[in-house]
């Protein structure tokens, strides 16, 4: 379908490569078990090879995509219902596919080192490839139903990988053993965590399904392009007042997958998986799927909003969910002792940013700005978060503990990791001007600030506050891990002869690359953002017929690539970075104030710290309401209704009552002939009289 202008003399291979992007990982997944039978080591190479091939075929789509070409190829699928499967490689999808493909590839390379020697390695590769393939389905599918296949595939893979170490050894748990919140232990085994992730995201999934079905009920199709093509369905839904609910429900899927409030709690326990998995989940696949969903359906709703449909509530929901999540998770990240969990909180919080951006994009009618900002942040976050996770994985690998309190002073031993972590960490903090994180976050600030909506200022303040906290906890993390003295744990290890050393080549290279990229692209970040902005402007305009107002940019009088910069946002962002890093420096790098003493110095701080450490009690409340209470209810029903009322009533009771009446009848049969004859005589009278009635 793409009219390849440059390569028109060649056969059109773009559709094929678009298909291949997601089919290749599945092929790999299929052959890996077979290979694993023969050689376990070989599976890694197969996986990495296929991941590379998939990434390459994604890359081949790039040239076309940068020209805003669109590849749309369909095959019959469920022809009886008129549903087709297809790939839709528009710029959005292609960029995403590349992000996913390449970052996954790097993570796969990293995994060859990280998972070396694990006896279940075949299974690991299988699921990793399954994971990537599913994610690519989400990215490239042209309709909601097929996307849902990938969607659940991702959930399934995350379930399998989070509980990868299914033997539930103590070292694979997360949380602190014995610590209870509201009477419930917050200490989770991998298998538990996997279940939790799968079921909690399932809640989001069913919301998404309801949204899909609502739209399907009116439109009769799941296809993104078909939905765009004829919007009569939207009018019909609006008339019934179902448009906003459907959109919000659809967004519910994103809430679940992206661990947004209120379905955020699974993300932390997901840290039980191997770190490579966490990296994949947080950087490239799972949680990004939610943002991608919003990015995928966003333009459709922008277009509808532009066409006069009242969708503000929908966008407000997105923005606010993003905002709340951003601050909620960021605050918790400040206090958690487990390195991966800190990163996980950070992920949720960052995703909140993206959601916020997408939401305000809809609110502001400056669709492209917010949209671009959110998506750009997705890309930059993918890079630095993958890098951070992999680095954290190296730390875990080396130190053998997930607690930051067990680390400390590692900067001398793991120089490369130290450096890369700083680089990526700066990206997360949004260090001014040199990191991608800065530019993308700044774009979000700008978009939020400029949205001109009632909610603009509250959201903006939340965003800035979150940025302060983000900087603080990132500094804290780096400070706790690399600065200060060696922890008792490390001293103990060294006594036993284990020396702390740098991670192996296959491990540090991938996160090195990503860390370098974070800085590298950061340097040209503004123009990169501008490029994406341009691309998306064209994309939205071309495909969705959304006219972008260029008012704000032209007023600045700055060069076009600087047009997106908003001074207020810039200042806020700089200030946030400054405040955050200084606080972090005081507590964790310079170590002028002992954080523990600081917290304990004041009942107020103590209470806050405890609340944050207890995850705002949200996790416990969720468990009480949705696990403990239903189970309790079910047990009650089981004990008193099923076993007594029904079982006793229907099975035993029926039996007994029949037996009882049998006894009565038998009693009447006394064996005395006179009685019988008496009954006979009475019977005559009875029958005769009965006939008269």
């Amino acid at each position: 379908m793409a009219d390849a202008s440059m390569l028109s003399f060649l056969p059109d291979f773009a559709p094929t490569s678009a298909w291949l992007v997601w089919i290749l990982p599945f092929i790999a997944a299929l052959i890996i078990p077979a290979v694993g039978k023969a050689t376990q080591r070989g599976t890694g190479w197969v996986a990495v090879g296929f991941a590379l091939m998939s990434a390459i075929s994604a890359a081949t789509l790039l040239p076309g995509a940068l020209e805003a070409h669109e590849v749309h190829d369909q095959v019959n699928w469920i022809s009886t219902i008129g549903i087709k499967a297809g790939v839709l490689a528009d710029p959005l999808a292609v960029i995403m596919a590349n992000v996913v493909g390449w970052i996954s590839f790097l993570i796969m390379v990293y995994s060859t080192g990280y998972m070396k020697g694990d006896k279940d390695i075949t299974r690991f590769w299988f699921w990793m490839m399954f994971f990537i393939g599913s994610m690519q389905i989400i990215v490239l599918s042209d309709n909601l139903l097929m996307m849902f296949f990938g969607w659940e595939g991702v959930g399934l893979a995350s379930y399998a990988l989070i509980s990868f170490w299914y033997r539930d050894k103590n070292k694979d748990h997360v949380g602190v053993q014995g610590r209870t919140v509201l009477g419930l232990q917050e200490y989770y085994a991998p298998t538990h965590a996997g279940m939790k992730a799968f079921i909690m995201t399932k809640v989001g999934d069913i919301m998404m399904l309801s949204g899909m079905f609502l739209i399907f009920a009116f439109a009769g199709t799941f296809g993104f392009r078909e939905l765009m093509h004829d919007t009569a369905w939207a009018s019909a839904m609006q008339a019934q007042g179902l448009l906003v609910p459907a959109a919000v429900l659809l967004f519910g899927g994103a809430i679940g997958k992206s661990a947004q409030f209120p379905l955020n709690e699974w993300l932390l326990e997901a840290m039980t998986g191997p770190t490579a998995v966490s990296a994949l989940i947080h950087a490239a696949t799972m949680v990004k799927a939610g943002v991608f969903l919003v990015a995928r359906i966003g333009p459709l709703f922008f277009a509808l909003a532009a066409a006069g449909f009242a969708l503000d509530q929908f966008f407000e929901v997105i923005a606010w969910v993003g905002g709340i999540t951003a601050i909620l998770l960021a605050t918790q990240g400040m206090v958690n002792p487990e390195i991966k969990k800190v990163l996980a909180y950070s992920t949720g919080s960052q995703i909140g940013y993206m959601m916020m951006a997408m939401g305000v994009a809809g609110l502001s009618h400056q669709y492209v700005d917010g949209y671009t900002a959110g998506f750009f942040h997705l890309i930059s976050h993918a890079m630095f978060k993958a890098s951070l996770f992999m680095a954290a994985g190296s730390l875990l690998h080396v130190v053998g503990s997930r607690f930051m309190t067990d680390m400390g002073g590692l900067r001398k031993h793991m120089k490369k990791t130290y450096a890369f972590m700083w680089a990526a960490g700066l990206g997360l903090m949004g260090a001014p001007f040199i990191t991608t994180g800065f530019w993308s976050k700044d774009a979000i600030f700008a978009a939020v600030y400029e949205s001109g909506n009632t909610w603009a200022m509250p959201l903006f303040s939340i965003a800035v506050l979150t940025a302060v906290i983000t900087t603080f906890y990132t500094t804290r993390m780096i400070g706790m891990v690399f600065f200060g003295d060696k922890s008792k744990h490390i001293e103990h290890m060294e006594k036993e002869g284990h020396h702390v050393h740098e991670a192996s080549l296959s491990m540090w290279v991938p996160y090195g690359i990503l860390a370098v990229l974070t800085i590298g692209i950061g340097v040209i970040g503004l123009s990169a953002e501008h490029g994406i902005h341009e691309l998306f402007t064209e994309y939205l305009g071309h495909t969705f017929h959304i006219e972008t107002e260029h008012g704000a940019e032209e007023d600045n009088g700055l060069p076009s690539f600087l047009a997106g910069i908003n001074p207020v946002a810039l200042v806020a962002s700089l200030a946030a970075f400054g405040i955050g890093i200084s606080l972090g420096y005081v507590f964790y790098i310079g170590r002028f104030v002992d954080p523990v003493k600081f917290v304990n110095s004041n009942i107020f701080f103590y209470a806050i710290h405890k609340t944050l450490l207890n995850r705002w009690y949200l996790n416990a409340i969720v468990y009480w309401c949705f696990v403990v209470a239903p189970l309790w209810l079910a047990r009650g029903i089981w004990r008193y209704f099923e076993r007594y009322a029904i079982d006793l009533g229907l099975n035993v009771g029926l039996e007994k009552s029949v037996g009882w009446s049998a006894k009565v009848v038998q009693k009447a049969q006394t064996g005395v002939a006179q009685s019988y004859l008496y009954v006979f005589g009475a019977g005559i009278l009875f029958v005769v009289l009965f006939l008269f009635l």
Binding site: A662, Q666, A673, F680, V687, V688
Partner: protein, 495 residues
């Protein structure tokens, strides 16, 4: 006048002659223990009779059951059907007695009484005159009083016979009473004339007619085992020799239905009464009491006795809806035929069990499936057929019966008959299943023992009959359709 070659006369001739000759022969021969000899003669006579009837049925010489003739006996499909059913029962009983009577006293008398009683049973169905019917009824009953008490040394046999006799005597007196009233109202004893007489009855005489119907229900209901006239039945069935119980349960009981169909139904159709509701109530009571009482029984004969009370209730469904649909009587006839075979076979199986291992307690039937495989199989098939499990013959007749109660155009209560019937037959599975469970699922170490050949024969016959009809019921359904009496239009209640 009656032609000398009509079926009933031939049957009287064959069976009566043989029946009378047997005791004489015993006096002449003065031999002991030659049970098989007499049995064979009786058996031969019965086979000849059934052959004759079957020949007439198959060759289509019997007219469809129709208007009542002016004679005392009619020769139509209705009576043909009953004749076949009764003769099958008699044959089964005789065959079962080959072994059962071995070593017992007075075999010639025994067989002669069976033959005489058979004449009675058959002629009840052939009668079209109340006097004839009554005489045949008594000919059927009196020998069975003796037969029930035939085990003179056995107290329970005697007790059973006494109870049976008292009830029988009382009920025949009641029947005469009923007949006397009907006679008084119409001036005739011929059923055909009675019908017309009743149809044109002076309204002021209606209470008397109702009294007569009530008396008939009580009198014939005793034999059928309708509640509340059923109480003798379990005691007698338990106490009487099992072969005779087969005769009672499968044969005389069906004669009760033949009489009821001839007299109660036809008469009351003519009376245009709303009497069917009473029959419906009795039907429900009968099947419920029968099935419920059967559940806790320990003695297999007694259990089957209660089960046959239950079945009387099912058959009565067909009678209760008879004025509204011909399907009802068709179902009743079909079930009568099936029930004769199933119950007959079941009791003969028990006779076989009693003669070989002397057990009637259900709990002691453990492992019978291994001890006596063919007998057990026959018993199981009979029980399943009684429970109405497809594909056995019992299923189809129950189907017709319950179906008839659900036909459109029936009074509102008819549907409840079907519901009651269906629930009862589900309930009945519980105790049939209980026996099967004991025979097959428990006691796993028993060794096989020799089964009496005659009983094996009966079992094989019943299995073939029940399953064969179960698989391909059409001929019998058609036959029963023919056998449904076609009434004068004037007599049928307009729907």
């Amino acid at each position: 006048m009656i032609e000398i070659t009509s079926t009933p006369i031939i049957l009287i001739a064959i069976l009566g002659t043989v029946g009378m000759i047997l005791p004489v022969m015993s006096v002449v021969r003065k031999e002991k223990g030659s049970n098989s000899f007499y049995a064979a003669i009786a058996f031969g006579a019965l086979i000849a009779s059934i052959g004759y009837v079957a020949y007439e049925v198959v060759s289509g010489q019997l007219p469809p059951a129709a208007v009542f003739s002016a004679d005392v006996l009619a020769n139509d499909s209705f009576s043909g059907l009953f004749a076949i059913a009764m003769l099958i029962v008699a044959i089964i009983t005789t065959a079962g007695s080959f072994n059962f009577m071995r070593g017992q006293a007075h075999p010639p008398v025994y067989y002669s009484l069976i033959l005489l009683s058979t004449i009675g049973m058959v002629l009840v169905a052939y009668s079209t005159d109340l006097v004839m019917l009554f005489v045949a009824w008594e000919l059927m009953s009196i020998p069975t009083y003796v037969l029930a008490g035939f085990m003179k040394k056995n107290p329970s046999s005697n007790e059973a016979a006494l109870k049976y006799f008292l009830f029988g005597a009382l009920s025949s007196a009641i029947i005469i009473y009923g007949i006397s009233i009907v006679y008084g109202l119409t001036g005739s004893t011929n059923i055909g004339e009675v019908m017309t007489g009743l149809a044109n009855l002076d309204p002021s005489m209606m209470p008397l007619a109702l009294l007569a119907v009530g008396m008939f229900i009580a009198g014939f209901g005793f034999k059928m085992g309708l509640v509340p006239f059923h109480m003798w039945l379990p005691d007698t069935y338990e106490g009487a020799p099992p072969t005779i119980t087969a005769l009672l349960a499968a044969g005389t009981k069906k004669a009760g239905f033949a009489a009821a169909l001839r007299v109660i139904i036809m008469g009351t159709i003519a009376l245009q009464l709303d009497w069917t509701f009473a029959l419906g109530v009795i039907a429900v009571m009968t099947m419920t009491v029968g099935n419920i009482a059967a559940i806790m029984q320990k003695n297999i004969s007694r259990m089957l006795a209660y089960s046959s009370i239950g079945h009387a209730g099912y058959i009565l469904i067909g009678l209760a809806v008879a004025p509204f649909t011909s399907l009802g009587i068709q179902g009743s006839l079909f079930h009568v035929l099936n029930h004769s075979v199933m119950k007959g076979a079941a009791f003969i199986a028990i006779a076989g069990i009693v003669t070989t291992i002397g057990i009637t307690n259900i709990d002691k039937l453990k492992g019978l499936g291994r001890k006596m495989p063919i007998t057990s199989l026959g018993l199981v098939i009979s029980l399943l057929a009684l429970a109405g499990v497809p594909p056995t013959a019992g299923f189809w007749s129950k189907l017709l019966l319950f179906g008839s109660a659900l036909e459109t155009g029936l009074p509102a209560w008819a549907g409840w008959l079907a519901i009651a019937g269906v629930l009862n037959s589900a309930l009945s599975l519980a105790y049939y299943g209980w026996i099967i469970r004991k025979m097959y699922f428990e006691g796993e170490t028993e060794k096989k023992i020799k089964e009496p050949k005659a009983i094996i024969g009966v079992m094989i016959f019943s299995i073939i009959f029940l399953v064969g009809i179960g698989v391909y019921p059409d001929p019998i359904i058609e036959f029963t359709k023919n056998a449904v009496p076609i009434l004068d239009n004037a007599l049928i209640i307009s729907k």
